[in-house]
Symmetry: C2
């Protein structure tokens, strides 16, 4: 997600927490999935990225064909899969007198199969592009690829055999893995089939991201980020209720704070637990939020007691960034995520995130009846007041952000979520936001989630549903099996990474409609 | 070696023989070898294929450098190796937030490292080119590549990491394997340092081809061919004396004859023993030769008794190819190897191979005192007479071959080896051969071996040594660590496969100088 690195990072591991996280490691459910069809990728101007799949033959016909040098075949697994591929290959003709050189390309989307990865020149590592070139010295063989892939389509390309033999792909299958148990989900039968479909795909998206940890995306980054975790946990409470996995992730973050006690924005779990050297103002605060939501869901007091000091510490550190007026300091050496936008000024949304999470901290402090409770309340009042005093533009009747007084969607949305204004004011602000339609808009499903929730909070349920249908429903119309990391209905080729090939098309922060639909009975 | 396929091949396995071969499977000796230097490949017009290695730094400095995207390094293992590569890789910088994509290229020769394999357009399978592209998801890691490579040089190319981290190659090593025990070789101290060196490199070549079976070349085809086996066995008797491996290979061939009893030109041993569908007139006869040499070396009467019927059958089948004049029929639907040359007519050399091997068959039949003994002798006399009558050109005083009465080096050489002429006539013929210098010359070290032996048989030891030094000594001057599959001192770029990249630079049929030097006390 980011390349900002904090120099001189010092991590102070909490071995007790790390051990607890380790003990909560989930069991993975495995399902063997076979391809459903042989397909071809065709140019189509109306299709997303200009490519669509076209049915060619049932997958059962695969072993009928003998493949020789330069032959290829594309298999469609019918839906998004996260797992391990096995191929059984048999030779035809003379005994194989040279190795088989086979290239495999995995794609969540047709474009990944259709456009050569060699064309990729984005700024994220090309090593994320899912491909393998393997040599098979002895045939027949069962090839079990050791890496996990995230895909719906697999292209098999015979780079070379020898003039004396061909190959037959007798059996191709995927051992799909997830730590989500689909039978744990209470089915809904929504009267609106579009919302029903959005709910289903949200759940599939969440399931495919639930592995050893809540991953942001099984294709990329395959990693636990706090911002994604918060949303996944919310969707999880409404669906799988795999609450132990949320607990595990909280302990993972609490296990590797820095020397000031700040939790990192993300952690690596292999070869061992490591803090990423990225620290984000908002993500660290979302530790409070995730613990708050976890506690409200589970009433797991022991965990709350154990992790409260870590949560409280994030608030204390965030408060250090306030200026004399109790406003979050804006500066160039500081990073708050909020949304994937270079132009977005983060000051005001960050102030709102601080208020949002401090309210949750107060709730937890009350639950624990801790000494910090009263002081937190005092500060919260001051900071909310500061937001209204310094960040609210009376004339424009909107929140502004930064020295250039930027009016953005993010600032209004987060201030609504933070509950700085009255219900009526919230309602008016959200109405005004759509009327003004500020140029600094929304980039990610992550920010879209907050828009929808803000609309609901502001009592604009119909608008919330409309926006959800436009956005997530739009992805479905554009062929989503799982919801995407990035989607701009007005600019469908958008990628902040310089290429749609590297985008993740199953991304956790996009899974929240199931939470919104179920939680708010949309 | 070839792409000729015999349709409707029927193999009649002899399970008893196959079982015996299996029981003789050798133990592999393992040696851990580390690279000696970091080198660069430089253009050099005088070097073979225009490339030479240039020392850059000791290999011990490898971990001092951090490699990022597009960086590469070439390691020199100091000598030819056949084995399995292990690399220990450590990240530097931030925790690795994307997989490492690493390309490895293995080369027996500098040219394989210097010229991109993408440029290859020869007619053998490109899958023989030794390379891998691997993705490493978790770092640090110890990568144990599962395939065996034949190489001196390894190029490591970092295709991508991420902007946040680099990699350090902490330890690279090769687990070299061979079924030859180097301590079994009686060292010689030759007064001629050039012959001493040729002897050493012959032995290294043989050792690197001695694996589970006598392979033709550890890079390509990694397979047991009868023509190579015969020569390897001869070199082996003078050096390693791993006679059980010769016995194993004889049983492998005898285990999979066709429905007429003919042994194939080569066999595959994985995933299980399989006869190749290539059958060569001369190679099948060399089963007799290899059994003969094995018996003379070991006096293993039980094996001779058991395998005699297979050997005798090869002679009987070869005799079926004789015309009414007792001359080997020439035709287009027939293949005898002799040498890697399209222009070479194979009739007369094949007649000579028949005589050569029939003499050995007679010797074995006498040893066994079998009923076939006398009949074999009678036929041998007739066939030798036929050779003189129909294949000897009185006017030119040379052997001719085929309907176009081709005068080739191969015909004269093989007839000398077959002992069709008197010693004096042999001497004169070899002298005349050099004077005439027929256009249809010698292509492979395999045929060069027969030239040297024919010179020795004809009493021309000095000429034999001179030719050996020119040919094998030439390879050494051109940088051979092991002797090559192909070498033409006058046309060093020669490859029958359309590219020198695919040539094997450690090839069994090139290992015979140690046999010639030691057997004939050169």
């Amino acid at each position: 997600m980011c390349i900002q690195k904090r120099e001189n990072q010092v991590v102070v591991p909490n071995e007790q927490f790390i051990k607890q996280a380790e003990q909560l490691k989930p069991q993975l459910y495995e399902t063997v999935v076979k391809p459903t069809a042989i397909v071809e990728m065709k140019r189509d101007k109306k299709a997303i990225y200009g490519w669509k799949k076209e049915y060619f033959a049932p997958a059962s016909t695969l072993p009928n064909h003998e493949y020789c040098k330069t032959d290829s075949v594309i298999l469609d697994f019918g839906n998004h899969q996260v797992g391990f591929l096995t191929i059984k290959i048999r030779p035809a003709g003379s005994p194989p007198d040279a190795p088989l050189k086979l290239k495999l390309t995995f794609g969540e989307m047709p474009v990944e199969i259709a456009e050569p990865f060699e064309s990729y020149d984005g700024w994220l590592s090309s090593s994320w592009l899912q491909e393998e070139t393997i040599f098979v010295d002895v045939l027949p063989a069962v090839i079990e690829l050791p890496r996990r892939y995230s895909f719906r389509f697999v292209k098999l390309e015979v780079i070379d055999t020898s003039p004396k033999y061909r190959v037959i792909f007798e059996n191709v299958q995927c051992r799909a893995v997830t730590s989500a148990n689909i039978s744990d989900v209470q089915p809904i039968s929504h009267q609106d089939p579009e919302l029903q479909k959005i709910d289903e795909i949200s759940i599939k998206t969440l399931a495919d991201c639930m592995q050893d940890v809540f991953e942001d995306g099984p294709k990329r980054d395959r990693r636990l980020w706090l911002g994604d975790l918060r949303l996944q946990a919310l969707a999880n409470y409404e669906t799988f209720k795999t609450n132990k996995l949320v607990k595990r992730c909280l302990y993972l973050f609490a296990g590797v704070p820095d020397d000031k006690g700040m939790v990192p924005a993300s952690v690596f779990v292999a070869p061992k637990l490591m803090a990423d050297d990225t620290y984000l103002f908002d993500y660290s605060l979302f530790f409070v939020s995730t613990l708050h939501d976890y506690y409200l869901e589970t009433k797991d007091l022991a965990t709350l007691q154990e992790l409260w000091p870590t949560a409280y510490r994030q608030v204390v550190l965030a408060l250090e960034r306030l200026d004399k007026n109790d406003v979050v300091k804006d500066s160039s050496d500081w990073w708050s995520f909020i949304d994937w936008q270079e132009n977005l000024n983060k000051q005001t949304p960050s102030q709102a995130v601080l208020i949002y999470t401090m309210k949750q901290a107060v709730r937890l402090a009350e639950e624990l009846d801790t000494a910090e409770k009263d002081q937190l309340k005092v500060r919260l009042t001051e900071i909310m007041k500061a937001a209204r005093t310094y960040l609210w533009d009376e004339k424009q009747q909107v929140f502004i952000s930064g020295s250039h007084r930027q009016v953005s969607w993010a600032s209004q949305i987060w201030m609504v979520l933070a509950g700085v204004l009255s219900n009526k004011e919230n309602q008016q602000l959200m109405k005004r936001l759509f009327e003004l339609n500020p140029a600094v808009g929304i980039t990610t499903p992550y920010m879209y989630h907050h828009l929808i929730e803000a609309l609901i909070i502001a009592g604009k349920r119909d608008r919330a549903i409309l926006e959800m249908k436009t956005y997530w429903g739009g992805m479905i119309k554009d062929g989503a099996d799982t919801f995407w990391e990035l989607y701009d209905p007005c600019n469908k080729n958008f990628s902040p990474y310089g290429s749609h090939l590297i985008n993740s098309y199953c991304h956790a922060w996009s899974c929240t409609p199931t939470y919104l639909i179920r939680k708010y009975h949309l």
